[in-house]
């Protein structure tokens, strides 16, 4: 059993708990266990693009320092911090690269961390769980563990921005990625390409200008539906919330009937690998994916 130092981030404990629980369950089944970093803090969600503000970089560096300490307690592990949320993935990867290149900045931040008897030696790598699945576990091993192939699911992969941007953080080719498609196909589902795969969902604008997000969600789901897909797979809790909640809102306001349930990739894996249903927490979704799964006779 390989163990990975795993950083959950804020949403995996609240709105996206089904994402975390299903990912941990399948990680054990694939003998690549995700073990949570003790005493972690928020990464800051969005990476600061300013060149003159170190303060906003302290939180992610502290996570990397704690992850480095954490791997001492793990078995058969690597110097890797693993994330599930794509925004955490991006923030941690960018800061990690900056700290490897700018030793003066690292020294200044370490001066702050030392107040808590912590220091970061910039010897960690940040990985998204999808990279572990593709590069360390392999899709053939995932295919072997499938007990309930997802026949009838026509899934469009929605990568969002932060899995593919910027170069420091991308987990796949930024203009033509395939990791999510390969994953859902190894689970027995059909993958449907949509050019909207990284058309931004509107992200944090949901707080102050919901219309921006509504427009984006209309464009994304409209295209995906026209290509015959019946579900979307995502890796970002904010994409998931925006797509799910806005479709529900449009359904109530306009009577729109065609909707796409949103799955986290780990939920699809958990279903296909025969994990207990409850861990997916489908009751948290605004558009209940269980209806589609029942129709396709994937859920009994």
């Amino acid at each position: 059993m390989v163990q990975y130092s795993y950083f959950p981030g804020c949403n995996l404990k609240t709105d996206a708990r089904g994402f975390e629980k299903s990912a941990i369950a399948v990680s054990k089944k694939l003998e690549s266990e995700l073990v949570e970093i003790p005493n972690w803090n928020c990464c800051g969600t969005v990476h600061t693009m300013t060149s003159d503000n170190l303060m906003k970089r302290i939180a992610p560096v502290r996570i990397l320092a704690r992850s480095r300490n954490h791997i001492e307690e793990l078995e058969d592990t690597l110097n890797q911090a693993v994330t599930l949320c794509s925004m955490c993935n991006s923030t941690l990867k960018i800061v990690n690269k900056e700290m490897k290149e700018d030793l003066d900045a690292l020294e200044t931040i370490n001066f702050q961390l030392e107040e808590d008897n912590e220091t970061y030696e910039n010897d960690m790598e940040v990985k998204h769980f999808l990279e572990i699945l593709r590069d360390s576990v392999g899709f053939s091993k995932i295919r072997e563990k499938v007990v309930k192939p997802l026949i009838g699911l026509k899934i469009s992969a929605y990568y969002g921005c932060m899995l593919l941007h910027p170069d420091e953080a991308k987990i796949d080719d930024a203009e033509m990625p395939s990791v999510l498609e390969d994953l859902v196909e190894s689970l027995g589902a059909e993958s449907i390409f949509s050019p909207m795969f990284k058309h931004c969902c509107g992200s944090y604008h949901i707080v102050e200008d919901e219309d921006i997000v509504t427009d984006q969600v209309k464009k994304i789901t409209g295209d995906v539906l026209s290509r015959g897909a019946n579900a979307l797979v995502v890796a970002c809790p904010l994409c998931a919330y925006n797509l799910d909640q806005q479709q529900k809102m449009l359904m109530e306001k306009t009577g729109k009937k065609d909707v796409l349930p949103i799955f986290y990739f780990s939920q699809l894996m958990a279903i296909a690998m025969g994990e207990p249903w409850e861990i997916n927490h489908f009751e948290d979704h605004k558009i209940d994916p269980r209806e589609l799964l029942k129709k396709l006779k994937i859920e009994e």
Partner: protein, 136 residues
Amino acid sequence: MSYEYIKFGPEERDFIAKIEEISGQNIYSCYQCGKCSAGCAFSSRMDKTVNQLIHFIQMGQKDRVLEANTHWVCSSCLTCSIRCPREIDVAALMEAVREYILREEPEKVKISELSKEVIEKLPNIALVGNFRKMTG
């Protein structure tokens, strides 16, 4: 064709220098190809497109830059940054304009005016992300 005389003095140069300092980018690397605006998911909502805003920064036209909504509509998806043929981190320029404003007026979004209902409904990833971008 109409012409407009613009002022280009120390004040304009200071503005350019500040944006370059915050973003770490060379504003004159941009040759106005417009690829950033063409691929931007939000161009239709911007009163000046991304390359237009950059042009106004290049000319030091601070008022025109600050009155635009471009940098506020930008959601930092970074599509422009990875596609720029001049390898400019375009999104960092948008961030620099936001920061330039927020360092003086730190509340583009007034957290105290958000309703309890909104705060309870939204996931923390949205709230933290928004406050990091819209408050100083």
